[in-house]
Symmetry: D3
Subunit: 61 residues, 6 copies
Amino acid sequence: MPTITVEGPPIKVEQKRELVKKLTDVAVKVYKIEHITVLIRENSSENVGINGQLLLDRKRE
Amino acid sequence: MPTITVEGPPIKVEQKRELVKKLTDVAVKVYKIEHITVLIRENSSENVGINGQLLLDRKRE
Amino acid sequence: MPTITVEGPPIKVEQKRELVKKLTDVAVKVYKIEHITVLIRENSSENVGINGQLLLDRKRE
Amino acid sequence: MPTITVEGPPIKVEQKRELVKKLTDVAVKVYKIEHITVLIRENSSENVGINGQLLLDRKRE
Amino acid sequence: MPTITVEGPPIKVEQKRELVKKLTDVAVKVYKIEHITVLIRENSSENVGINGQLLLDRKRE
Amino acid sequence: MPTITVEGPPIKVEQKRELVKKLTDVAVKVYKIEHITVLIRENSSENVGINGQLLLDRKRE
């Protein structure tokens, strides 16, 4: 701990590398704790709803 | 926010559409906030345990 | 399972009662499963950030 | 409830069976409640960061 | 990682100590990984709904 | 979405302000999406276990 969990759309491995590095830098600076875990979750557009509509359907419009 | 996360078994896209629409309607009504996010998580029966037994094994019995 | 987790601002017990009842009704209808658990999380406005700003500070403006 | 969620690397179904059985035994003993749900999440090594580095990259070194 | 999160009712510190020790023993045995984090969440009975009813109200009946 | 959840020890409001601002900056840069939500969770040292021991007890030693 601290543990940072990020829920977002699918991204490329290079973006994940950047995300993990930079989120960790921020957390180390704020918490003054070295041991940081980051979990990236990639959500399909048919598993996310925004304001009552699937992301899948919003993209189609 | 509010954000609603639903952990359940795999479902069809038409069920997801209905789930997102109706959960959002409920949340808008109770919270009086328009911006609602819903995350649907689909769990394989080998990743869920009920009362000490994998769902996978309960189904087989 | 299914389990529904709702992250939102603090609400009154009467709103929680309505939220649990109605979210459960939706989940039973979509999943055709009777056993539904709902977890309500109430987040202080100093623990939520929207677009880079604490909810606490947005309210003050 | 109680619900136990385990975030870890991918494991085999036999390990899942053992995990669910033994975690449930512990929870029943401590909480004195029979109804326990366990959710196992398997995370790809490119979706986990430890101390600023993807698990994927740590393994390669 | 692995990280184990337990959602349950409020418990005493002695129960937490036992829970953390025993859940960790199980996880170390199954995953063959030494570094285990456990998070205990204590949920008020007015923030949990079972089958459409607040736990608070079920207890009163 | 994206939503970033941070599990850590209790921190001061000024640290929360910095955390939310900087985590959001990172997420906007990586995801190219403006709408970012951050949730901060503050965990008591008696609700966190590291390697089988409550954080509470580790501090005392």
